[in-house]
């Protein structure tokens, strides 16, 4: 079973990101689960969400304590080492940061990938909305979901938001995936 933990801040779409992973994995024929862990309900507060992917039905409801993959939507959260809880030398890190990024704390793993999600988001949306963008990098580096299934998930999840938004999100995901 693959366990993914996403860290971000209130308003960054942390919960939606986990849901998109689950929808995409399910679309690829896997079993999947996603759930949020809200802190206080306000914009800017640190928030976590979780996703699990497996070949069998997922029945556990515990929070993700030992993630195989850690997605960090806001690199400023790395100023506090709590965020690394349960990670080890095998954990795959995907961080929203430029290529030359140096983490302020020591990461336990060498499998660290930077995704220029903010840069891509500013270019395409004109806003720092990175939750879908960073999933393009997640799909590329984890191999757990395909680009196609991720696009499907975005189209399904954002169906109410209209075609333009879906199109822009897919474009941003593709840029991150091909980065």
């Amino acid at each position: 079973m693959e366990q993914i933990r996403i860290h971000g801040r209130g308003g960054q779409g942390v919960v939606t990101a986990a849901e998109l992973i689950a929808i995409a994995a399910f679309k690829s024929g896997k079993y999947a689960q996603a759930f949020p862990n809200f802190g206080v309900e306000r914009s800017g507060a640190p928030i976590q969400s979780y996703a699990r992917i497996a070949d069998e039905q997922i029945i556990t409801r515990e929070q993700v304590h030992n993630p195989n993959i850690l997605i960090i939507q806001d690199a400023s959260l790395l100023e506090n080492s709590d965020i690394l809880k349960g990670t080890d030398k095998n954990t795959l890190f995907i961080i929203n940061a430029p290529d030359n990024y140096q983490a302020p704390i020591k990461l336990p793993s060498k499998k660290v990938f930077c995704s220029p999600a903010t840069e891509i988001a500013l270019k395409i949306f004109g806003k720092n909305i990175v939750n879908t963008v960073i999933l393009g990098s997640f799909a590329k580096h984890s191999g757990l979901i395909t680009l196609e299934s991720l696009k499907y998930a975005v189209a399904e999840k954002f169906a109410d938001k209209g075609k333009t938004i879906i199109k822009k999100n897919i474009q941003a995901i593709e840029v991150a995936f091909n980065d």
Binding site: V15, A18, E19, A22, I23, F26, K27, S28, G29, K30, Y31, A32, Q33, A34, F35, P36, F38, E41, D55, Q57, I58, I59, T60, R61, E62, Q63, H65, G143, L144, T146
Partner: protein
């Protein structure tokens, strides 16, 4: 990545728990829905309101100014003969408390979802079972769901038993853990639901009808009042067998299998040295933990009202180490599930039953905690209530 498509083949979609419940309720076809939004119930009623706004629903959605009003609105509609639905959580359920007793006293088959959440103060929006336990004596049937699929089926079962017995039913789903999570689930279609649950049958004298006028909830003198309570209690007893029968029927029509009989579900070791007892989504975490144990079993209580005392006695059989793990506590007494389980098995002299209070106010219950409880149960236990954190 190797793609397996077996989940899609079972007609499953990946949905948020709230959406799965809203879709099911819409397919059940209530005539009146009224609710007041409260976290974590909100998504269920938002979805229902959306269905109504988009022309995908046939019910009247009546907006309410409070939970007290919402419960009163569905009371009135149900008394007029409609199939109705509401949903709430926590403080909302407590604000409804007075109306809940009126509903059961008037013998109205109202079904409501409770997205279980802790009670203030201190303010806490996360999951535990304090809300449901606070109304355990209100004369409502109570079901507890482990996952999205069970929540879906329990709503069908709830309407079926409620309308058959003229008793209201509360379907409990763990707030956030089930209401805000995504997982694969199959939503039964309208035609199959109709087969299981035809339109509400109205018997003369049980609803407000100008051709056959009745008074509901009128004044009862001491002698008559006691009789109404006795009637309700007898019907709760009768509903134990009805739930079992209708759950079997549900399994046949919707073609699913599990170890449950609608009241309880046992899984794990055939000859257990320890049995853990719980309700709701925690059962999943325990089942996952028990994969590593050959001598431990889980008894999941799916129906809390009526309390399935005989089923528990039977399931426990010769096992003498019982741990009741629950998300509620009566200060000065004990966990409600523990107290009732203990009463159910009274007379079984050698039994050692331990109460663990866990997950209050959304505290995570990890597999490690379950393993620790099992380890403790192998040694000497104290019979004192233990708080797990």
């Amino acid at each position: 990545m190797k793609a397996k498509n077996k989940n899609q083949h079972q007609g499953q979609e990946i949905l948020e728990g709230s959406r799965a419940i809203a879709l099911t309720v819409n397919n059940i076809g209530p005539e009146v829905v009224s609710a007041y939004p409260i976290t974590p119930q909100t998504h269920i009623v938002e979805d229902l309101a959306k269905f109504k706004a988009n022309g995908q629903a046939n019910f009247e959605y009546v907006r309410a100014e409070s939970e007290f009003a919402a419960a009163s609105i569905v009371l009135g509609a149900s008394a007029a003969g409609a199939r109705v639905y509401s949903a709430t959580s926590s403080q909302g359920l407590l604000l409804m408390a007075e109306v809940l007793y009126n509903i059961s006293g008037m013998r109205l088959p109202i079904v409501m979802t409770c997205a279980n959440r802790a009670i203030s103060s201190p303010i806490n929006i996360w999951n535990d079972h304090s809300d449901a336990m606070a109304v355990a004596g209100s004369g409502w049937l109570q079901f507890f769901a482990e996952n999205h699929q069970e929540a879906v089926y329990q709503h069908l079962l709830a309407y079926k038993v409620a309308e058959k017995m003229n008793l209201p039913a509360l379907v409990n789903v763990d707030g956030f853990i089930l209401t805000h999570s995504y997982e694969p689930v199959a939503i039964p279609n309208k035609s199959l639901i109709k087969k299981y649950l035809p339109a509400r049958k109205l018997e003369a004298g049980t609803f407000l009808d100008t051709n056959n006028p009745v008074t509901m909830g009128g004044f009862f003198s001491p002698n008559d009042y006691l009789d109404t309570r006795k009637d309700i209690c007898q019907d709760f007893d009768t509903s134990l067998a009805i739930i079992k029968k209708e759950y079997l029927n549900l399994k046949k029509i919707f073609k699913f299998k599990n170890n449950g009989n609608g009241l309880v579900e046992y899984s794990g070791a055939k000859k257990p040295k320890i049995i853990l007892i719980c309700m709701g989504s925690l059962a999943g975490t325990i089942k996952e933990t028990l994969k590593k144990y050959a001598d431990v079993g889980l008894l999941k209580i799916t129906t809390f009202r009526p309390f399935p005392a005989e089923e528990i006695k039977k399931a426990i059989d010769h096992c003498v180490n019982i741990a009741v793990i629950e998300k509620a506590i009566n200060p000065g007494s004990g966990g409600p599930l523990y107290l009732e389980t203990k009463a159910a098995i009274f007379g079984h002299e050698k039994i050692n039953i331990q109460n663990y209070i866990a997950g209050l106010g959304g505290h995570d219950i990890s597999e490690k905690m379950i393993a620790k409880i099992i380890k403790e149960m192998r040694g000497r236990t104290t019979n004192k209530i233990k708080f797990v954190n």
